[in-house]
Subunit: 430 residues, 2 copies
């Protein structure tokens, strides 16, 4: 089974090496022998960690796709174009495609799956979400009959590394980010990671697969971690929480109508006893709640050549075996379901206020909460004089009501600043 | 697609209900409509949580298998016979089989898979290991190309519940066991759970799938948890460990020969920072170490009608879809690889000795360790007089050498008793 690989960065190089190392074992177990025959790269002169026979490397990705010798195409270039067009060309030529391209799938997934379905070929993408962790296949296959209600993921290793450093070593956000950049976890421009765009793309893909509906990156509400401070982390720890950047996709029942899909990315306070709380450093994990199966969690490496290459390899073997059997996996994510606005979110909230230390402050603040029907579960007063603060945790409340409360609080003379607001998960729900 | 179900206990009843509730959604997503047409039970008069149309229930399991109306067979009777024969009959009739039967697979898996392969039908068994957790499919498919080196599982919910109660509430083993029995987690005769037989069967299945070789229940070395005391648990906590009953399957490199398979079940000290340490109550988890993918963990409910029924349902949909496509999944576990004797295990050990409080004791004990080449990493002396104890943690040592040391220690007059010996994982390895 002859494989054409588009892209030879970390993941592509790892894949080529894995095919080489594991080829005999894979052939013994599946009867299919993989051979990488063409690899498309941007530059022929760059040094690579792997050696390839002469004639394998080319700068012409379209020629790899069109090569009649190539049976299966692996796309690890990333980005929307030319990846989209190359994949559509491969599918049109009846060639199964394996991709790790979260950005493309989160924006054009439905189009690509429809094309694959029409052509009757596989389009597999385990590596696009949470790197080496098998999560797409379990959702598509193991849980196809399950009523999955919610998925909560730590799906960005860079931000999890930063938050872990802040939490465990007490370093500031900027220092932790700099460290992540030095270690190669974060890009020089870290926007995609720290602002939640990367996690948002993955949330869209997870929502599509779990709920069998079209969810795109633009449907995902997102907030990043740049405003999380070590003070927040210390308060969280004292209250029995750890702060994580979460990607959440859930079905919300609506009176007299179909469930709506809510999908968002934001930092949140996670109770220490929750399985996600122990996911440290650059590890990822996806927590799945189903009506029959209960709670599941899938944990592992969300990035890196080895783990991501391993996920691509699993898909590649599957696509190759399917091709020999003239079969393929179907996936329908074309249906559209209503996306729930973030305003309608119901959650518990942590609110940290920098206040004037004088009588009547608490009453004024409490009035603002009461006015919008936001009920307070716990309250701490901290410090005196210039350092006085009020820290609230609310009962479940509607996001819009909390935002209206915050707007009112911002207008109070007795409040210096709304230091932070974080959603709290796993508490007071249902 | 017409389904015949053999057995209608917790899992069977949950499955029938899930097929009813989720049938429309499954049909919408896969194009396959499931219908349970026959259910074989032991007694027709027993009350059940589900209602079935007249004519569906029967006491004749063989007739369900033979019924030309039945396309797919689900076996949730358990035990070796008649399950084995019924499954072989179904396979011979060209009908895919979904089973949750760990005991049968751990003893006759290779025979059954060979029969399924010959007949060209699916034999799927996600529910046989770790209940609702997708682990068999990820190992068979997602990780088919991965060089899986070791699997470490908490795969028995009953013993994990007991150990959690002992650890978190300080209750004695016997009291925790009684509580597990009251809650229905443990059988009246708890031998299969507490002595590690149940976990051993699952370890054999995991080893077979991960390493593509025939491993049977009889290959698995096992120790149970009946001798674990709250004292051990307290010492473990002080040293930064928690005690878990682990099922371990690993490949061990052998100089100049093929890797050997080591497979065992025993209580062990797990470092608190290890992802398995946080797996509490009756939850299960399977930790997988691969050469390329790194560390993975799969966490969830290991038992119960809902979770196990959900796993059976996932397989059932897969088998039904494959049947409509005239395809099936292959699995070859017939190859035999050398099984490594427990004597050859290399591990770190915790040894707790009840000793005479007099000069020279430590020297005598140290001599016994030294005689067998077992090197001591840390040592604590505790208590005085009648309560004097020595607590050791060794560096990695060979099991046979440690056993020889323990035999020597047992002959020393200055030692009242070897209170406990536990293997320590995740420390000082490699």
């Amino acid at each position: 089974m002859k494989v054409g690989v588009l892209g030879c960065g970390n993941v592509g190089a790892a894949l080529v090496q894995l095919v080489e190392e594991r080829g005999d074992e894979i052939a013994a177990r599946t009867g299919v022998r993989l051979e990488v025959v063409r690899v498309a790269v941007r530059s022929l002169s760059r040094t690579r960690p792997i050696e390839l026979p002469e004639g394998v490397l080319t700068r012409d990705a379209a020629a790899v796709v069109a090569d009649p010798d190539v049976d299966v195409v692996v796309e690890v270039i990333g980005g929307i174009e030319p990846a989209r067009e190359l994949i559509l060309d491969a599918i049109a030529a009846g060639k199964p495609v394996v991709t790790a391209n979260k950005e493309l799938l989160a924006n054009h997934g439905a189009e690509l799956f429809a094309a694959a379905s029409t052509a009757g070929v596989d389009l597999l993408f385990e590596a696009a979400v949470a790197g080496g962790i098998p999560i797409i296949r379990p959702l598509r296959e193991s849980l196809v009959g399950e009523d999955v209600r919610r998925i909560t993921g730590i799906v960005n290793g860079t931000t999890n590394f930063i938050l872990t450093r802040m939490s465990e070593e007490g370093v500031a956000y900027s220092a932790a980010l700099a460290e992540a950049q030095e270690l190669g976890y974060a890009e020089r421009d870290p926007t995609a990671d720290v602002e939640g765009y990367d996690a948002g793309a993955k949330a869209a893909i997870l929502a599509s697969i779990a709920f069998g509906a079209k969810v795109v990156a633009g449907d995902v509400y997102h907030e990043g971690i740049a405003n999380v401070t070590t003070t927040d982390i210390d308060f969280a720890a004292r209250l029995g929480f750890v702060i994580k950047l979460l990607a959440v996709a859930e079905l919300v029942p609506v009176d007299g109508g179909p469930d709506e899909i809510a999908v968002r990315v934001h930092p949140a306070m996670v109770p220490l006893a929750h399985p996600l709380a122990g996911v440290r450093d650059s590890f990822n994990a996806v927590f799945v709640e189903g009506a029959a199966v209960g709670d599941l969690m899938f944990y592992g490496r969300g990035a890196g050549g080895g783990p991501t290459g391993s996920a691509v390899l699993g898909d590649l073997v599957d696509a190759a075996v399917n091709l020999t059997k003239h079969t393929h996996a179907e996936l329908s994510v074309a249906a559209r379901r209503p996306i729930r606005a973030i305003d309608e979110l119901r959650s518990s909230y942590y609110v940290n206020l920098d206040v004037v230390d004088q009588p009547g402050v608490l009453r004024a603040v409490a009035e603002a909460f009461e006015r919008h029907g936001v009920s307070i579960r716990s309250l701490e007063q901290e410090g005196i004089g210039e350092n006085a603060r009020l820290i609230f945790i609310t009962h479940q409340a509607r996001e819009a009501d909390v935002q209206a409360t915050l707007a009112d609080l911002g207008n109070l003379d007795v409040i210096h600043a709304i230091t932070s607001v974080l959603r709290v998960v796993g508490e007071d729900e249902g």
